[in-house]
Symmetry: C2
Subunit: 322 residues, 2 copies
C-alpha cells in the first residue's frame, strides 16, 4: 500500500501520522514540542520519531512523500521563518533537511492552510465553494477558500488576518504590532482577557488564586461551565471581539460558513454562539442570517493532518499523471 | 460584425458603449443620471438612448447581448436593490426589463466587479493572478481577484469592504452603519473630511467661502494643486485612513497590486503616494515593499465598460461553444 507521512507542527505538540490515499491513519504519534531545547534537538528528535514510525510499517507500505504543516511555513521556499512558539525562530530549511534524510518528495504548508484543506477533504466544508477556517490556538491562523481554491496570495503568505487591528486595544502582539485580533481571539488571548478582568473588576473568581502562568484557556472553559463569572465574561468578550471583526471578513468574501477550530474552539457553543451573535449584529443587512459559524467537525489536529496529507497526495498524483 | 452593448450605471452618469469582441468601442454615449426623477423616467430615458445607439449602427453590426454594471447589482438575481445614488432604491428587475424590451441575453454585474475585470482584460492587471481594484467614487467599491478569479461570494455579494469600520469614527454611512471606510475613502468622504477640517482648524482656506453642497472632491484636488493647506491635509487624512485599512486587506489576501480607480483616484500620485506610505507603515514585515499601489491605467469608466463587455462575451462564447 502507498502511504505518506503527515506532520503537524504546533507550539505545544508535533503530531505525526502515516496516511493512506483514502486518508485513513495507519499510525499516529504525538511529541511534546517543548521537549526540544533548540533546532538541533528538534530535528534529531523529529528524525528519530519518523524512523521509528516508518520502521514499524509493514514492508509493503511504501512511503511516497512527506507533508509538513507548520506555523510561519513559507510553502514556496520550503522554509519556516520567524516562528515564535517553536524551538527555533530563524530561517530553517525544513523541506531540504527532511528530503536529505528520508529521500522522498517533501512539501510544506502553513498550519492554518492545512486545517482549511482538511475541512474540504473530510470535514464540514466538503460541499462548500467559499468558506473560512480560523485556528484559535496560541495564535489565530486563518485559511480562506474562494471558488473551491485556497487563497495563498502572491507569495504564499496570505491569511495573516490574526494580525489585523481591533479597535481600542493596546495589547502587544508577538508580531511586534499592537492591538492585533489574535491578542484577543486565541487561547492566549482569552487568558489575557481573563487576567485583565481580574484587574478591572471586584467579581469573585477561582482565578484570583492562580498565577498568570497557571491560567489556561482550557481552565477558563472549565470554570465557565461551573459559572465562574469572570470566565463567562472572558468568553463573552472574546466572542464579541471575534464576531465583530468577522463581520468585516464576511463583507469582503461573503463565505458560506466560518469554521472555528483549534484549542479555544473546544469550548464549542460557549464560543460559537457568542461569535455568531456579535457577528450578526455587525453584518450589513444583505448578509444577515446567511453565514454559519461552525465548529470543526474533524477536530483541528485531524484536519491539519488530513489537509497536509491531501497536499502530498495531490502533488504525487499530478506528477504521476504527467 | 458581432457587438454587445455595455452599460455602466453610476450615481452621476450612465455610460453606454457598443463594443466588439476586440473590446473596441464603436460608439459611446453618456447620460446624466440625475436627469431622471424616478424609476419610470430612468428606464424610458435608458431605452431611448439604447434605441438611438443601436439604430445608428450599420445593419451588419448585430447586437448579441447587453451587459450592465451597476451599484447594488445582484448578478445572480438580475436585480438592483438598495441603491442610494440612483433614481430608485427598491428592488428593480433590470435584466428582465431590458431583455423584454430588446430581446437579447442580458447580464448584470456590480459596478466594482466590472471595473475589476476591465483591469484584467485590457488594463494594468493583465498578468496578475491576485489583485484588488478599489473604485473611489461617491462610495467605495471593491473587486478582488484571487488565483485569476473574481471573488463574488456565496451569493454574489462579496466585495463590500467599503462598509467595514475604521477606528475612532462617528460618521454616519448611507448603509445605516457608523464609521464605514467609505465615509473617508471616497469622493464624498474626502469632502466630509475637508468640511471637518474647516470646523476643527483656523487655517485659511478657499473652502471657507463655499457651501457644503458646493464643495467637491474635484475642487479639493484643484485646491491641493494650488497648495491650499486644508485640501492637502484632506488628502493626507484620506491616504492615511485608506492606507492603514489596506494593510488589513494585504494581510488577508497578499495581492500583487492594489489599483485605485474612480473619481477620487484622478488625483493620481497626490493620493497613491499617501496611501502607499500609510499602508507600508502598517504592514507586517513579510509584506513590506512587495505590494504596489497603482492608478487604473484604463480609467474607471473605460475599465467598467470593458469589464462588463467581457462578461457578456464570456457568456456568449460559452453558450456558443456548448
Amino acid at each position: 500500500m502507498a502511504t505518506v507521512l503527515s506532520i503537524d507542527i504546533g507550539g505545544t505538540s508535533i503530531k505525526l501520522a502515516i496516511v493512506d490515499q483514502g486518508f485513513n491513519m495507519l499510525d499516529t504519534v504525538s511529541v511534546d514540542t517543548l521537549a526540544f531545547e533548540n533546532q538541533d534537538a528538534f530535528f534529531a528528535g523529529l528524525f528519530q520519531v519518523i524512523e521509528e514510525m516508518t520502521g514499524k510499517q509493514p514492508k509493503e507500505n511504501k512511503l511516497l512523500g512527506i507533508g509538513i504543516g507548520a506555523p510561519c511555513g513559507i510553502p514556496e521556499e520550503g522554509i519556516i521563518y520567524g516562528a515564535v512558539n517553536l524551538p527555533f525562530s530563524g530561517k530553517v530549511e525544513i523541506v531540504k533537511l527532511i528530503e536529505q534524510r528520508f529521500s522522498v518528495p517533501t512539501f510544506l504548508t502553513k498550519d492554518s492552510y492545512a486545517a482549511t484543506l482538511g475541512e474540504q477533504v473530510l470535514g464540514g466544508a466538503k460541499s462548500m465553494a467559499n468558506y473560512v477556517v480560523l485556528t484559535l490556538g496560541t495564535g489565530l491562523g486563518c485559511g480562506i477558500v474562494v471558488n473551491h481554491q485556497l487563497v495563498t496570495g502572491a507569495n504564499g503568505q496570505a491569511g495573516e488576518w490574526g494580525h489585523t487591528p481591533i479597535a481600542q486595544s493596546n495589547r502587544s502582539c508577538q508580531c511586534g504590532q499592537v492591538g492585533c485580533l489574535e491578542t484577543y481571539a486565541s487561547a492566549s488571548g482569552i487568558k489575557r482577557t481573563l487576567v485583565q478582568l481580574l484587574a478591572d473588576s471586584f467579581e469573585p473568581s477561582s482565578f484570583r488564586d492562580l498565577t498568570f502562568r497557571e491560567i489556561t484557556a482550557e481552565g477558563i472553559y472549565e470554570a465557565a461551565l461551573l459559572a465562574d463569572p469572570l470566565a463567562l465574561e472572558a468568553f463573552s468578550i472574546t466572542g464579541k471581539v471575534l464576531g465583530g471583526k468577522l463581520a468585516e471578513l464576511v463583507a469582503i468574501f461573503e463565505p458560506e460558513a466560518i469554521f472555528l477550530a483549534g484549542g479555544l474552539a473546544n469550548a464549542g457553543e460557549l464560543l460559537t454562539d457568542k461569535v455568531a451573535e456579535a457577528m450578526e449584529k455587525q453584518l450589513l443587512n444583505i448578509y444577515r442570517g446567511k453565514v454559519k459559524i461552525l465548529g470543526s467537525s474533524l477536530g483541528t489536529n485531524e484536519a491539519a493532518i488530513v489537509g497536509t496529507a491531501s497536499i502530498v497526495w495531490n502533488h504525487l498524483n499530478v506528477c504521476h499523471d504527467e
